[in-house]
């Protein structure tokens, strides 16, 4: 096996050209998935394109009243951005459940998204928050909702030569709150058996005016469960509304049984976690 070529382009255009030139090339950001897959011989790319040298790839900046997070920004750095952590605590917490501290010092949300694991922790939080993703490629740039980046386990919708440049989060709405929870057998260093994200907006009376509920690890991709959000809108998040929401989540969940959990358990936990995550989001919304 010849060693893969290693490229460190300094512009988005160079990176895109390198990726376009070699269908076997893979993007390296944090590398916490890529290197593991390389070493276990699950993948054998002939070229690796490191995007960390490209200006603007690392760091968080204000954009359109919200946030633009460079694709190579490690998860740990998200915690250091006080404005981001205050606006979207669910996203920042979700990204900081991935792996261990050492892993999070390298790992990126963009990589978590493009790796397309159904159990990726940051993705349900991004989907609930309404994040969009800026993708660069040979024919320019496009912006898509986070939920549209993945198409199945290990599969993303990026075209040949494309890579993620940044993740964009809107401004936190007045009365908004978000949260993410996952179920794992251990307390950390684990992979979600079920994940659930919520982003709510409450009006001054405590009535829910907007709700986005997402679930992970219970379908080929992270799901935005619109019926679950609809079950909450107009309610004051009373038990009946929560139960309708949970039922919508259970209906939407289409998990497989594997070493990490049974179908029955995952469906039941999707409902439990959705209720719990809505409660945390509600508390955050009420403080907002």
């Amino acid at each position: 096996m010849p060693s893969p070529q290693f490229h460190s382009p300094e512009t988005v255009e160079q990176a895109s050209a390198l990726l376009a030139a070699n269908p076997q090339a893979r993007v390296l950001a944090g590398g916490t998935d890529l290197i593991v897959q390389l070493r276990s011989r699950r993948i054998a790319p002939t070229a690796i394109v490191d995007i960390k040298r490209i200006a603007g790839m690392s760091g968080i900046r204000a954009a359109d009243g919200g946030f633009a997070i460079g694709a190579a920004t490690p998860c740990t750095a998200l915690k250091d951005d006080k404005a981001l952590a205050a606006a979207w605590p669910g996203v920042v917490e979700a990204a900081n459940l991935i792996g261990s501290v050492q892993v999070r010092n390298r790992a990126t949300m963009a990589g978590n998204l493009c790796n397309a694991s159904p159990a990726a922790d940051s993705v349900p939080a991004l989907v609930a928050a309404g994040a969009t993703v800026l993708i660069a490629g040979p024919s320019g740039q496009r912006e898509v909702p986070a939920a549209e980046v993945t198409s199945g386990p290990g599969k993303n919708t990026l075209a040949h030569g494309e890579f993620v440049v940044e993740i964009r989060l809107p401004a936190r709405p007045q009365g908004g709150g978000d949260a993410y929870l996952r179920s794992i057998p251990r307390t950390e260093m684990d992979i979600a058996v079920v994940g659930a994200g919520a982003a709510l907006v409450l009006d001054a009376s405590g009535t829910c005016t907007s709700a986005r509920i997402s679930i992970g690890a219970v379908a080929p991709t992270v799901l935005l469960v619109e019926a679950a959000g609809a079950a909450l809108v107009g309610s004051k998040l009373d038990d009946a509304a929560l139960e309708r929401m949970a039922e919508a989540v259970r209906v939407a969940a289409k998990p497989i049984a594997d070493k990490r959990g049974t179908v029955e358990y995952r469906i039941a936990m999707a409902g439990v976690l959705a209720k719990r995550v809505v409660e945390i989001a509600r508390q955050r919304a009420e403080k907002a």
Partner: protein, 760 residues
């Protein structure tokens, strides 16, 4: 398991023993200088790789190594054909024995592969990348055979048989057909069936636990160098350099004197490093290539091809009187030992009831083979699996009779002089003292919150003594060098230095301890069975006593008095008569003149240590179960253990906490999972879930020090007992938290949730 009940020679208080000095190997380890298995480098060293079977059961039709050999950088390729074809020969390995042919074939398959991960060929090359690439170029033609993964599959009529020459041992008559049942073993006494029939209260159930790995953080690794004259050096991390020497010599037909094994620092063993996997292969690669060769396992290799401890299924019935006296026990358990006959059935059967007086009992164990990795010892091998069902049944009886779970154990506890199931009266054992200490501990009376339950379980392990060698040499300045052949897996260098210092009546810092290679010290049995501080420690103490005798004799000559007129006190010889009465000579003063008297001051003691005593433990476990998800949190945990005398209490407490942590992992989340094709589905720490720090509370420890009269300082051995009670303690705590008896480990959230759903 007994010891002389002579306490007259027992010394009650010590200067060094029982203190907590810094370990002598600590600085080297925390500064990253210590040389572990994969750190050793030999000049001109090649890197090896092993090709492993992707099939759980297959006949090897052919192996074509030509493409691998042709790859530039490849210096040697070996297969089973490069190993001597051994008859089925058993060698004594101290505590147990091993079938050399089976051990050899586990290192490198001959004819058949028996599990996913079984080694079929190996390569040595100028880099690890080339070696791995070459291994992938080896073409193996397999005839895939049907496989068995569970006890039911292995024992089903017509099941594929792993070893065509294996007939169940221990049955009244040799069976007509070979099978996957290697052994049936029964111990017991009295009339258990009648006792159970007449009992006031009877509980029964089927309990199970999965195979679990020892989980040492350091993967197996070694370097071997075969010289043209047939002399071999091996550098390896293991629990016994002499074990490696014995096995490599037997497998490869090499004289033991021609193999020099240097022990490297060990990053955890827990019983799993009492076997060879890589060393014979590295020697053969080195012989073929003419260069030193390093072999190292990946984490996945460690999971697939080393360890684990056997899983178990046990059917048990226990009868008791209305007052909680256990009147009868019948248990039949089956250990799932993997690809070769295991070692846990005898110990499991003999340990199951060793902590109780049970007049009527029958314990039958079966050793069952299947197409998974050949099992290895793991802390108190066999005992956790069989004591778990016993402790759960006692808990259930206590609940039914409204008895306190510690009181019912005290009522039935084995005490000194009680004759056990093996027909031997117990020595100075401390189970009852542990139960009393547990009852008095504040944890036991602390209130419980909602969804919480408290579990109690006891347990025991027999410990061991056996052969050890120690030498003690004095430097010319009087400093003390202790040398043993016992790898230090739990702080034993500190313990050896402390026992030497205590014996010599000098400061701990004056003593340094080396663990020598197999050509530089006499034989010691491997570090295991909780024997090292007891047995090797005894050799160190006796060698120090010889040093004292030598020093007194030398001083007496220098003073021209009879040796009886000298006294050893405070690390010096004191003159009691003649011109120099009242003066003294220090070790340094005598050692400096050694060249003018009898020469270097040294002593060597080789012994076969007798009088070891079993250890006992009682664990208190609080769990909280999330009623909506089935998650079990261990909220508080206390380990009470009879440790004999604790030489270095930090390391004794560390053993207690470490064993408890591993046992909690076994109870809650650990376990081997296979897919339908018979491949291990979780060969990594992500999906093989050992507890991480945040999974556990601080584990409180209570050392009950009931000394062993057969050891100069009262040592009993502490490393194995603490993994025995947690399985029952956690299961009992969960059972009480959810109001439902749980039987199957691990208690993963989905299983506990399903159990709770079934109830409601």
């Amino acid at each position: 398991m007994n010891a002389p009940q002579d306490k007259a020679s027992f010394k009650p208080a010590y200067d060094v023993v029982g203190t907590r000095p810094v370990r002598p190997d600590g600085v080297e380890k925390v500064t990253g200088k210590a040389i572990y298995g994969t750190d050793h480098v030999a000049a001109g060293m090649l890197h090896g790789a092993i090709l492993r079977s992707p099939h759980p059961h297959a006949r090897i039709r052919s192996i074509d190594t030509r493409k691998a050999e042709a790859l530039p950088g490849v210096k040697a390729v070996v297969t089973g054909a490069d190993f001597p074809s051994l008859a089925s020969l058993e060698v004594s390995l101290g505590e147990g024995s091993g079938n050399i042919a089976a051990i050899s074939r586990n290192c490198m398959a001959h004819e058949k592969v028996l599990y996913d991960g079984h080694a079929v060929a190996a390569v040595a090359a100028t880099s690890a990348v080339i070696a791995e690439e070459a291994a992938a170029l080896i073409e193996v033609e397999y005839e895939v055979l049907p496989h068995v993964l569970t006890i039911d599959e292995a024992l089903a009529p017509g099941a594929p048989v792993l070893h065509e020459d294996m007939f169940t041992k221990g049955l009244p008559e040799k069976p007509a057909e070979p099978s996957n049942a290697a052994l049936c073993f029964t111990v017991g006494r009295g009339e258990p069936d009648a006792a159970i029939a007449a009992a006031h209260t009877v509980v029964s159930g089927r309990y199970s636990a999965l195979a679990v790995h020892q989980g040492y953080i350091e993967p197996h690794a070694c370097v071997a160098s075969y010289n043209a004259d047939g002399q071999v050096q091996v550098w390896a991390s293991s629990q016994g350099a002499f074990m490696i020497r014995t096995l490599c010599a037997s497998i490869l037909g090499i004289s033991q004197a021609d193999i020099r094994v240097t022990p490297l620092e060990i990053g955890g063993g827990f019983g799993g490093k009492t076997k060879v996997y890589l060393e014979p292969v590295a020697i053969v690669l080195s012989r073929k290539s003419g260069r030193p060769v390093r072999l190292a396992m990946s984490r996945a290799d460690v999971f697939r091809a080393s360890g684990p401890a056997p899983g178990v299924v046990a059917d048990i019935t226990v009868g008791a009187d209305a007052d909680g006296t256990i009147t009868g026990v019948v248990m039949e358990f089956k250990m799932l030992s993997g690809a070769n006959p295991g070692n846990d059935t005898h110990s499991g059967a003999m340990s199951a009831l060793a902590h109780y007086n049970v007049a009527n009992c029958r314990v039958t164990g079966w050793d069952v083979l299947c197409n998974t990795a050949a099992t290895a010892a793991y802390r108190a091998p066999g005992a956790p699996q069989t004591i778990f069902p016993v402790e759960c049944c006692i808990d259930e009886i206590a609940q039914k009779l409204g008895l306190d779970p510690i009181d019912i154990r005290l009522k039935n506890a084995a005490r000194p002089g009680d004759v056990g199931i093996m027909g031997m009266p117990a020595g100075e054992i401390g189970y009852a003292e542990c139960l009393e200490a547990a009852k008095a501990h504040p944890h036991y009376s602390a209130p419980l919150g909602p969804n919480q339950g408290r579990g109690i379980a006891g347990g025991t392990w027999g410990n061991y003594g056996g052969p050890s060698t120690a030498t003690v040499n004095l430097g010319e300045d009087g400093s003390v060098l202790v040398t043993t052949g016992s790898p230090d897996i739990g702080g034993s260098r500190a313990a050896m230095a402390m026992m030497a210092a205590e014996t010599l009546e000098i400061a701990y810092e004056q003593v340094r301890v080396t663990i020598a290679d197999t050509s530089s010290i006499g034989f010691s049995m491997l570090t295991g069975g909780s024997r090292t501080t007891f047995a090797t420690g005894k050799a160190v103490i006796l060698a120090c006593e010889e040093i004292i005798a030598t020093l007194r004799a030398r001083a007496a000559v220098m003073w021209s008095i009879d040796v009886s007129q000298t006294e050893w006190r405070g690390g010096a010889v004191h003159c009691l008569s003649g011109d120099k009465a009242g003066t003294s000579l220090t070790m340094g003063q005598i050692a400096a003149k050694a060249g003018f008297s009898g020469g270097p001051i040294a002593a060597e003691v080789a012994l076969n240590a007798q009088g070891f005593l079993p250890g006992f433990g009682v664990h208190i476990c609080d769990t909280e179960v999330d009623p909506e998800t089935g998650h079990v949190s261990v909220t508080r945990y206390t380990v009470v253990q009879d440790v004999g005398t604790a030489i270095h209490p930090d390391y004794v407490e560390g053993q207690m906490q470490g064993g408890a942590a591993q046992g909690i992992g076994w109870a809650l989340n650990e376990g081997y999972v296979y897919d339908k094709a018979g491949r291990m589905d979780n060969p990594g720490f992500l999906d093989y879930r050992m507890p991480v720090c945040s999974d556990l509370p601080m584990i409180d420890t209570v050392m009950v020090e009931k000394p062993n009269p057969a050891h100069p300082f009262g040592v009993k051995g502490v490393g194995e007992v603490p993994i025995v009670p947690p399985l029952g303690a956690v299961a009992n705590a969960v059972s009480r938290a959810i109001g439902l008896r749980v039987h199957d480990l691990p208690l993963t959230p989905d299983r506990v949730y399903a159990a709770m759903q079934g109830k409601s």
